[in-house]
Structure formats: structure tokens, C-alpha cells
């Protein structure tokens, strides 16, 4: 087979990160050497995964690699498998890209911290853990990687040890995160007890014939565990603390990549292992949780006074979109959800990096203390606008393309099931989208526009090495939004097909015909067809926009001819208008904004602020309650 050589790539991609994690420690205080090693590792992993695009995405191969060549014996998987189908590769690419960009940004960014020695060790451990989860074909291996990832992330959250908030956030993260880890471990143990195997493919072949109350409990545990890792409602408050306190490049990973492993886990558990997504009760549960995450977190975000905390709440809100879309169990829903997953990684990464740039330049991310930075950091402001437009779903940026698919998926689901509830889900999605826009206008007005604070008179634009990763992310935000067709053809289509085609995954690992022999799989499904309820052609839009922009420019240039000149000097005429009074510093920002909205929803917003008390005990109670409710729900409706 011509693909023989590719078999080794996935495991090498994972190993690179872990090897790199230990080698950078050897570099000690030699910063250049350390950066070279870390950079090389990240680029090698990225290129290894990119080289898999052709065999896996285009030609539809599924790569199986048995560690130590322990192949299945008599239909039983006894070794650890690395199994890469289109879904795994999709998430793997997302991880590798985010890690590479965040890593290059960190080279300069973390020089401000005194003790930056262990940073890259933890950073690469986190990356390796995440990569291990998405490429692994073994349930226990996933759990191990989950722990590696969680502890690296906890360490990175507390990286700025001088900051008491960081230590507190890390503690909360550790405690609440361990609920998730425990659930996953318990679920794994139960599944192993039932199936006597840990191989994902074999479990998914055996489970349909072995569903009993224990397995329902195991499902509930695994679902809650991965849900906790994706910070879905009600696990969201710890995300806000962790993202807010961690260095920005780590927030990119926690928000863009770490949470995606939770989503990936939920897909693997619900669509592959237990194949419960066919049940309308499971669809309802996932959509309901998604909508709650979406709406609760966006309203919490509107109330925040810290740039990064605000972004953190938006992360969960966007995860809500992804969960909702995945809960629909239709081809367009899954494709839309996965599309949003990659878009979220890109635009949220970009936004966290701009927040980091603001912190680097001014030393704070507190919205009430900033203002007018666009004059000093024009490029960062422009990049922020790209990120803000993407996340708020302003065409033609990528957030719109995926949200638009999710709207259609929910609305089509409503027509298909005849249930108006799904139409209301569409409404919730749109309202969340406009609230997202509002909170980014708040950030724009508070941080980048408005009046410049006197103390930031000498602020400088961030260094080039930090701007380049941001520009790359911005370009990707634009391109992924501009070519949804190509995205669907090369990434989303194969990944969606992989989600729906469990039998192919099983056969690839266990030998051809294994899935059919279990008698629970009819045959391979045809390529899923995406049916669209509407049309959106971003390229044509852009062409029209450019043509008309040229026409307007020509007209205005022709009409200029000396009159209507733009003037810019520093005199009374160019001072800010104060109704005839003497000019003074006056910046309308942050908490001053959106009074009418806050006033009308004061009951709800006040309740939400009080509920998010910041006490770890409360959040643990929420987590345990969620676990109990999900378990009860599964027992009643499954």
C-alpha cells in the first residue's frame, strides 16, 4: 500500500510534542535555543498532520497504528491503537494550527514574566495531551491524555504565581476539573467491565448488543466528564477564571483547543461508542445544554469588566453553538458544528492574542482602565475588529458562515420533526449572536476607541513577532469564511461522513467485515448530503463589494478637486465637542454601556451575577448536580 509510510505520522505528531517538552528543559535559560526547539517541534507536528490531509480527507483512508505492533488477536484488541479518521484529523489539524500560532506568539509574549523557564515544557505537554486525545483509538489512553492535558493546563493557569487570582483560578480548575476526570475514569472502568476491551472501535461494535443499566450509567458518566472538559453549562464558571488568569497564549489553547477535546469526546461517546444520538431524547438533551450554555454565558459576558474574562464567557457561549449543532444529528448540523469549532479556534485565538497584546502594552486588561488604544496600536485594533466581526457573525467573516449553517440546521430540524421548539432554538442562536456583537462593541468602545487615557500616551504597538501570528489568524478567519464550499469539500464533508459512518471506523481497526458481523450495522452509509435552506455566496458578495467600493472611490476622488479636504491639526476646531464647555477627559465605557438593555433584564442579570459567586464549593455543587441530572435523564429516557 502506498499509504504505509503515513501510518507512522500520527504517533510521531504526538511524540514530537512530548519529546519537545523535555528537550526544552535542557535548554535552560538559553532563550534562543529553547525557542528553536519549541518552534521546530510545533512545525514538525503541524506538517506531519498536514501531510495526512490527502490520504485521510481526500482519499478517505482511515489510518490505524498499533503501538508495539500488538495487533488484534482473534477479534480482540489487546494493544493500544492510534486511529485517525477524518474526524480525528480534523480536530488534530485544529490543535496543531492553534498550538503553532500560540507558540510563536509566546516567544516574545512571555519574556515579560520573570520565571519563564517551565513555560514551554507545560505548553508542549498540554499540546501533546490534546493531540493524544484526538488521535487515540483507545478509551483508557484518552483518559490518560486527558489527565496530562488537565494538569498541564492547571499549571499554566497558575503560571503567573505573583497573581493571587491565577492561583485561585488554578485551584478551582483543579477541583472542578477533577469531577470531569473522575467521571471519565468511572465511565471507562464500567465500559471495560462490560466489554473487556478498551479499543474504541471494538467497544462501539460490541455495545449495541450489551446495553444495560450499567452501560447507561457509563454513558452518563462519560458524557458528563467530557462535558466538563468542554466547560459546558453548568461547568462554565471555572473557564472564566482560568482563561482570565492564564497568559493569553495559554488561553488560546484552553479556549480554542482544550474545550474542543470535550466536544470531540462527546462526539466519540454519543455518535460512536453508544450511538445514542438517534434517540430524540438525547438530541433534546444536547441541544438544551447547548442553548443554555450559549445564552447564559453570553449574558454573563455582557456583564464582565475584564477583557479576558469576557472572552472566556464567549468561549463557552460558542461551545454552546457547537453542542447545539451536534445535537441535531443531521448532516448539515454536524458539518455546521464542526465548522464552528474550527472557526471558534481561529477567531477566539485571535481575540485572546489581541487581549494579550493589550496586556503586553499597557499592563492591564481591565476594561474600565483602558481606552483609545486604536491611536497607539492601530494594527492590534484592526485585528481586534476582524476577530470581533468574526465572532459576532458579520459577513463575510468565518463566524457567519458557520452560524448560518447552524441556523439552517436547527430550522430544518424544526420542519422535519414538526416541533416548533427547534425553531425557537434558531431564535436563541440569533439573539445570542446579536448579544455577542453587543459585548464586542463594548470591548471596542472601552479598549480601542473612545478617549485615550493620559497614562497610555507612550504606549507602543506590539512587536512584530507577536503581530505575525495574529495576522495569520486574521487571514485564516477571512479565508475560511470566504470559501465555505472548499471547507465543506476538504474538511467538513469527510469529517461529517466519518461521524456518521461508525462501521468504517470499526472495520479499519478490527479488519474488514467485523462491523457487519456484529449484525448491528446494516452497511456503509452513503456520503451525507447537505441540504441548504438558503444560499450564501461570500465570494460574489466580496466581488460586488469591491466593484462598488471602487465606483464610490472614483466618484469621491473625481468630486474632490481641492474642496472638502481632510484637515487634522491640534486646535480648538479639532477638539472634541463638549457643547461649548471646556474639554475634559470623559470616556463612556464598560459598565456605562447598554443601559436600556440592562435595566429591562436587571432581574435576570442580577440573579446571574449573584449565582456566579466565585466560591469553589458552589461550582462543585453545580457540577455534581449536573452529573446527577444527566444521569437521571439518561435513565429515564434511554
Amino acid at each position: 500500500m502506498t499509504y504505509e509510510i503515513f501510518k507512522h505520522f500520527p504517533v510521531l505528531a504526538i511524540m514530537c510534542y512530548f519529546l519537545g517538552a523535555f528537550i526544552v528543559t535542557l535548554a535552560g535559560k538559553r532563550r534562543v535555543l529553547r525557542n528553536v526547539v519549541a518552534g521546530a517541534v510545533m512545525l514538525i507536528s503541524l506538517s506531519l498532520l498536514l501531510s495526512l490531509v490527502v490520504p485521510v480527507m481526500v482519499n478517505g483512508e482511515i489510518i490505524t497504528y498499533w503501538m508495539g505492533n500488538w495487533e488484534p488477536v482473534e477479534g480482540y484488541a489487546i494493544g493500544i491503537a492510534i486511529e485517525v479518521d477524518a474526524l480525528s484529523l480534523f480536530f488534530g489539524l485544529l490543535v496543531a494550527i492553534a498550538v503553532a500560532l500560540a507558540g510563536f506568539y509566546s516567544f516574545r509574549y512571555i519574556t515579560q514574566d520573570d520565571a519563564n523557564g517551565p513555560f514551554f515544557t507545560l505548553f508542549l505537554m498540554l499540546s501533546g495531551g490534546v493531540m493524544g486525545i484526538v488521535l487515540s483509538g483507545d478509551l483508557f489512553n484518552i483518559y490518560v491524555m486527558l489527565e496530562v492535558m488537565t494538569f498541564a493546563a492547571v499549571g499554566l493557569t497558575a503560571f503567573r504565581t505573583w497573581n493571587p487570582n491565577a492561583r485561585e483560578a488554578a485551584f478551582k480548575y483543579l477541583v472542578v476539573g477533577s469531577i470531569g476526570s473522575t467521571c471519565v475514569l468511572l465511565g471507562t472502568a464500567l465500559v471495560y467491565g462490560q466489554c473487556h476491551t478498551l479499543n474504541l472501535a471494538q467497544i462501539s461494535a460490541m455495545l449495541p448488543g450489551n446495553m444495560n443499566p450499567t452501560m447507561i450509567f457509563a454513558f452518563a458518566m462519560l458524557f458528563t466528564g467530557f462535558g466538563c472538559k468542554s466547560f459546558m453549562f453548568p461547568f462554565h464558571p471555572i473557564a472564566a477564571d482560568a482563561h482570565g488568569a492564564a497568559p493569553s497564549s495559554v488561553s488560546v489553547l484552553i479556549s480554542g483547543v482544550f474545550t474542543k477535546t470535550g466536544v470531540y469526546g462527546i462526539i466519540r461517546v454519543s455518535y460512536f461508542l453508544f450511538r445514542t444520538m438517534g434517540l430524540s431524547s438525547m438530541q433534546t438533551m444536547l441541544v438544551f445544554i447547548g442553548c443554555l450554555s450559549m445564552f447564559v454565558c453570553v449574558t454573563m459576558a455582557l456583564n464582565q469588566h475584564d477583557f479576558k474574562r469576557l472572552l472566556a464567557f464567549h468561549s463557552i457561549s460558542q461551545i454552546g453553538y457547537i453542542l447545539t449543532a451536534l445535537g441535531l444529528c443531521s448532516a448539515i448540523g454536524i458539518a455546521g458544528g464542526l465548522y464552528h469549532a474550527i472557526n471558534h479556534t481561529l477567531f477566539k485565538g485571535l481575540l485572546f492574542l489581541t487581549a494579550g497584546a493589550v496586556l503586553y502594552a499597557t499592563g492591564t486588561t481591565y476594561l474600565d482602565k483602558l481606552g483609545g488604544l486604536a491611536r497607539k496600536m492601530p494594527q492590534t485594533a484592526a485585528l481586534f475588529l476582524v476577530g470581533a466581526f468574526s465572532i459576532s457573525g458579520i459577513p463575510p467573516f468565518n463566524g457567519f458562515a458557520s452560524k448560518w449553517m447552524i441556523y439552517q440546521a436547527t430550522f430544518e430540524k424544526a420542519a422535519e420533526t414538526g416541533s416548533i421548539g427547534y425553531a425557537l432554538v434558531t431564535v436563541v442562536c440569533v439573539v445570542t449572536s446579536v448579544l455577542t456583537l453587543a459585548s464586542f462593541i463594548k470591548v471596542g468602545q472601552s479598549v480601542f476607541f473612545g478617549q485615550l487615557r493620559p497614562e497610555y500616551e507612550n504606549v507602543k504597538e506590539t512587536p512584530l513577532s507577536m503581530r505575525i501570528p495574529m495576522w495569520i489568524m486574521a487571514a485564516l478567519c477571512f479565508l475560511t469564511g470566504l470559501f465555505p464550499d472548499l471547507m465543506i469539500k476538504y474538511l467538513l464533508g469527510p469529517a461529517t461522513a466519518a461521524v456518521l459512518n461508525t462501521a468504517r471506523y470499526i472495520d479499519a481497526a478490527m479488519g474488514a467485515g467485523y462491523a457487519e458481523a456484529t449484525a448491528y450495522f446494516d452497511s456503509y452509509l452513503a456520503e451525507p448530503v447537505l441540504t441548504f435552506a438558503g444560499t450564501w455566496d461570500p465570494v460574489s458578495w466580496l466581488v460586488l463589494f469591491v466593484i462598488i467600493m471602487c465606483a464610490v472611490t472614483l466618484v469621491s476622488l473625481a468630486g474632490k478637486s481641492g474642496r472638502g479636504a481632510v484637515t487634522l491639526t491640534d486646535d480648538a476646531k479639532h477638539a472634541t465637542f463638549f457643547g461649548g464647555e471646556e474639554a475634559q477627559y470623559s470616556h463612556v465605557a464598560s459598565g456605562d454601556l447598554f443601559w436600556g438593555f440592562k435595566h429591562n433584564l436587571r432581574g435576570y442579570l442580577g440573579f446571574m451575577s449573584r449565582a456566579h459567586s466565585g466560591v469553589t464549593n458552589d461550582y462543585v455543587v453545580w457540577g455534581v448536580c449536573a452529573m446527577a441530572v444527566i444521569t437521571a435523564y439518561c435513565f429515564i429516557f434511554m
Binding site: 466581526f389 478617549q451 444560499t535
Partner: protein, 316 residues
């Protein structure tokens, strides 16, 4: 030939030139009729056009504390995206660029001009603009909920058992089965849409974001010269686009067989809708407070739209 026709669509009708002329004319009509209703003589119908050209010739002052690039670019981005949106809305069955953007895309495209005003004002660094930005955003939040409910109702009704977002499908359905305004189930949605239009355009009594007497036109306070002219023009074109959207959604069934006549009828409808939902409301109401606007839209108007959605969903 094909290419030339496209260029004509883009630059002349219904693109740049036509939407400019017609939008400014609508704005003039609006002002004239309001004046007559208030027993004033009022300005000539072409006054907004005169104002536009006068402003173009004026000096553009950029406040020294403004973020210059955003301040100057925002008006043009808003205007251009608005004109592009005009190409996607069927006018009397004539679709310049059908099959490129559906209802939901249009919902998002029409927020770009509002965003342009918001970020332009934000970049001017004026506290008046800050207040205006906050208020404009609250009005966007206010009307977005009823607007999506209206679109979903229409999408359900036009889907015939299924659902659709496509504007062509909506037009086609109405040409076959009659305009939606005559469908009793969709009348509440039409009413809601008539209330959404003035809010989206920023007309009385929902113009809290640009309240001249309170916050000196909010986001526009520091604008002068050509950028101000462009914003005023965008405002006028928005009147045209929103009324055309209403015509396409609820009166798309009018078809005489002659395209030019259909277009003329559609433009008459645009004018009539402007007179009803902007001029009449302007003449008889005073400006609401921002929290009243929000409450009104999330309760009464959304309620109306929701009633329609329920009716089209459950009543055949």
C-alpha cells in the same frame, strides 16, 4: 453582454445610482409629508439631495483625539455594504443577483451599516458618541429578536410544509399562492415588520441612538463634510432597502407579466410603506426612552411576530 448587464445592475439599477437617487427622494418625501401633517410648508422634496451635495463640498474635520482611519473608513464601508444588500433583495420580482444571499444573510448584511455608524462614532472619541453607540446597540438588540421571528414565519409559510430561507422561494410562492399580506396568519408578522422598519432605519420614535436634542446625533456628533454626507445617504438608502424588503416579503405576489411595471409597482409600495411606518409614526409620536424601545420590541413586537410563527406552524 451578460457582463454589461451585470455592471448596469451593480452601478445603475438597482445598485449605486438608483438606490442613491431613490433613497434621497424617499427621505425628501418623508420630510415633506411630515411637515404637511404638522401644518408646516416643509422643505422641497429634493432638500436631502441638496444637503448631500452641500456636505460633500464641506471641509472634513477629524477630531484630534479620534482614531483616524476607522473614523474615515467606516462611512464608506457602511454605504457600500448597503448598496450590495440592495442587489440581493428582489424588487418587483426583478432579482439582480438572486441565489447569492438569503433572508438570514440579509438580516446580517443590514446590520453592517449600523455597525459602521457605531464604530465610526466610537472612533470619534466623543462622550456623546459613546452614549449614542450604547443606545444604537440597544436598538439593534431590540429589533433583532422580532425580525428573526418574522423571517422564520415567512420562511415557514413559503416553505410549503418544509422551511426555506431563500428570497426567490418566497417570491415564487407568493406569485403562485398570493401575497403574504393577504394571508391572515401572517398579518401580525407584517405589523411587527412595519414596526421593525423605523427602528432599523433609526426613525422616530425609535431614534434614541441619534437623538439630536439630547445627545447631538450621538455617533454622528463629530462628523462633518463628505463622511457625514455618506452617513446621511446611508440612512436614506436604508429606508429604501427596508421598505423593499417588506415589499418582497409580504407583497411579492404582485405580477403583471411586465417586469418594468412590476418594478414601478414595487417602488410605489416602498413609498407607501415609508409613508405609513415612518412618516406617519414620525408625525404623531415623540421619541421614546431607550429602555422603553427595548421593552416595546421584546414584548409587543416580538409577541406579534411570535403569534404569526405559531399560527403558520400549527394552522394550515
Amino acid at each position: 453582454m451578460e457582463f454589461l448587464i451585470k455592471i448596469v445592475y451593480i452601478l445603475i439599477f438597482p445598485g449605486l445610482l438608483f438606490s442613491t437617487v431613490f433613497g434621497l427622494w424617499l427621505a425628501g418625501i418623508d420630510r415633506k409629508v411630515v411637515a404637511r401633517m404638522q401644518k408646516r410648508v416643509g422643505p422641497p422634496v429634493l432638500q436631502p439631495t441638496y444637503d448631500f451635495f452641500k456636505l460633500l463640498g464641506k471641509e472634513t474635520i477629524v477630531p484630534s483625539s479620534a482614531a483616524r482611519h476607522t473614523f474615515l473608513i467606516a462611512p464608506y464601508v457602511g454605504l457600500v455594504s448597503l448598496v450590495v444588500t440592495a442587489l440581493f433583495i428582489p424588487i418587483g420580482g426583478l432579482q439582480a443577483f438572486g441565489g447569492m444571499a438569503d433572508m438570514v444573510v440579509i438580516l446580517y448584511l443590514i446590520t453592517i451599516p449600523s455597525l459602521a455608524i457605531i464604530f465610526g462614532g466610537s472612533a470619534s472619541a466623543s462622550p456623546f458618541a459613546g452614549v449614542g453607540v450604547s443606545r444604537s446597540m440597544v436598538t439593534i438588540m431590540a429589533y433583532e429578536l422580532p425580525l428573526i421571528l418574522v423571517l422564520l414565519s415567512v420562511g415557514r409559510a413559503a416553505g410549503g410544509g418544509l422551511v426555506t430561507f431563500s428570497m426567490e422561494q418566497v417570491t415564487l410562492y407568493q406569485q403562485l399562492f398570493g401575497s403574504f399580506l393577504l394571508d391572515w396568519r401572517l398579518i401580525p408578522a407584517a405589523l411587527a415588520m412595519l414596526l421593525v422598519i423605523p427602528c432599523e432605519v433609526g426613525a422616530h420614535p425609535f431614534d434614541v441612538g441619534e437623538a439630536e436634542t439630547e445627545i447631538c446625533e450621538g455617533p454622528l456628533v463629530e462628523y462633518s463634510g463628505a463622511p457625514l454626507a455618506v452617513f446621511k445617504l446611508s440612512h436614506a438608502i436604508k429606508m429604501f432597502i427596508m421598505t423593499a424588503l417588506f415589499a418582497a416579503l409580504f407583497l411579492g405576489g404582485i405580477s403583471t407579466g411586465m417586469v418594468w411595471l412590476d418594478v414601478v409597482i414595487a417602488l410605489v409600495i416602498c413609498t407607501a410603506v415609508t409613508l405609513v411606518c415612518m412618516t406617519l409614526l414620525h408625525a404623531i409620536t415623540a421619541r421614546l426612552k431607550v429602555e422603553q424601545v427595548f421593552k416595546f420590541f421584546w414584548t409587543v413586537v416580538s409577541g406579534l411576530a411570535l403569534v404569526s410563527l405559531l399560527l403558520v406552524w400549527f394552522v394550515d
